[in-house]
Subunit: 239 residues, 2 copies
């Protein structure tokens, strides 16, 4: 029924300006094609990988939307990120050869499989690819700094404002609207990511609506006043 894998080529992929091959020359991209040879489909709600599983490949999101989450021994879990088209998942597995988080599809999705050993071999050949891999990992580290900032020193409204701005910005880079978006995750998942309870997320959405900053209809969000959102993030004490 659903094929386990599909032949694919980075060099003809419409995400090549966004994804791993970004900035590579044509011949380098063709080399990359030889190792990024398979795709995999993941149904909504299914895991691309889970904590504890052996690591062997990185994955590039080709379509769909993922969350990554870590779980404590006592069962609490924390969403650590949301990944969309062109973003890379699986970097956590490199250090111990085991994944330390789960990656779950929030809608039917497709990923390109990039065997990491082959990626390492190829980046020994191409300085540009090597540097690009380093940048991808560094970008993740910088992103994490931002999340820590958010979790450690922002209030509920600031967190949600920052979250929405980050989402539309990334969606806009993918050709979507700057002011409208459809959330692919529940209030609870947003809350977990932001270190808030789902009720607080809901209440904060409602407050933004009352303030005329956004319109919300379930998962659909329209940003009516981008500047107001930005002001919320940057001005902690609006007194």
């Amino acid at each position: 029924m659903d094929l386990p894998s599909i032949k694919v080529a980075c060099s003809s992929c419409n995400l090549r300006e966004l994804c791993l091959p970004m900035g590579l020359k044509a011949d380098e991209m063709q080399k990359l094609d030889t190792i990024v040879s398979n795709r995999k489909r993941i149904k909504r709600g299914e895991a691309l990988f889970s904590a504890g599983e052996r690591f062997s490949s990185l994955f590039a999101v080709r379509s769909g939307f993922f969350k990554t989450r870590v779980t404590t021994p006592d069962g609490r879990d924390q969403v650590t990120g949301f990944q969309m088209t062109g973003e890379i998942i699986g970097l956590d597995g490199i250090v111990t050869d085991q994944h330390t988080c789960d990656a779950v599809a929030l809608e039917d999705a497709e990923v390109c499989i990039m065997p990491f050993a082959k990626l390492e071999a190829l980046s020994r050949e191409f300085t540009s690819l090597q540097h690009h891999v380093h940048k991808i990992m560094s970008r993740e580290i910088v992103r994490d700094q931002g999340v820590m900032m958010m979790l450690g020193s922002m209030r509920a409204e600031e967190r949600l404002a920052a979250f929405l701005l980050n989402l539309v910005q990334r969606l806009h880079a993918r050709g979507f609207s700057q002011s409208e978006l459809v959330l692919r995750m529940t209030r609870e998942e947003i809350g977990s990511y932001l270190g808030l309870k789902l009720e607080t997320v809901s209440r904060t959405f409602s407050k933004f609506v009352d303030d005329g900053i956004i319109e919300v209809k379930q998962r659909y969000v329209m940003i009516k006043d981008n500047e107001a959102l930005k002001a919320i993030v940057n001005l902690p004490n609006c007194d």
Copy 2:
């Protein structure tokens, strides 16, 4: 007066089992010596680098203790980590060629300077070094996941318990006691890292003392009941 740099060799460094050269063969380590040629001293309170500065090198902590922190436009800052001997600082700078955080010495310190371009060049030669660099970056990503977990879903007591356990574990790996430590950072810095105010940190310390779990005398901490600390981290609702 204080020399800007000092000749050094990984192959004869007593940290080689802990630091970047970990696991390299003798000849590989000698190659590494050729690029890790300089050290730098940083006085307590001074910055090794600051956000916005151009990135060119990674740094290995040879002695001393650092904090890294990010700052928002409106002036709040968030401590994102504490780095001790053998740990690598500066990975945040790779993605944009600019540092995105400050690295500040919490006591007089010395670092080895590792020019990143040279490190990349050498990683193209040695698979082992290449893989090791990848692991270091991945380890940082996994560490960040843990911090997010802490900030997003733990209470004050759990955060402080997790923090103390993490510190002694890392110190123990460096030959120090499993049950005693001297904090190199203030309550405020601990609080920033844990997403708490300094008063809350202080109160939580006092509570642990009352409960007979630790002894505290200013920066000195003795862990009297390691199991109790572990229990606090893992059992959110002890009812």
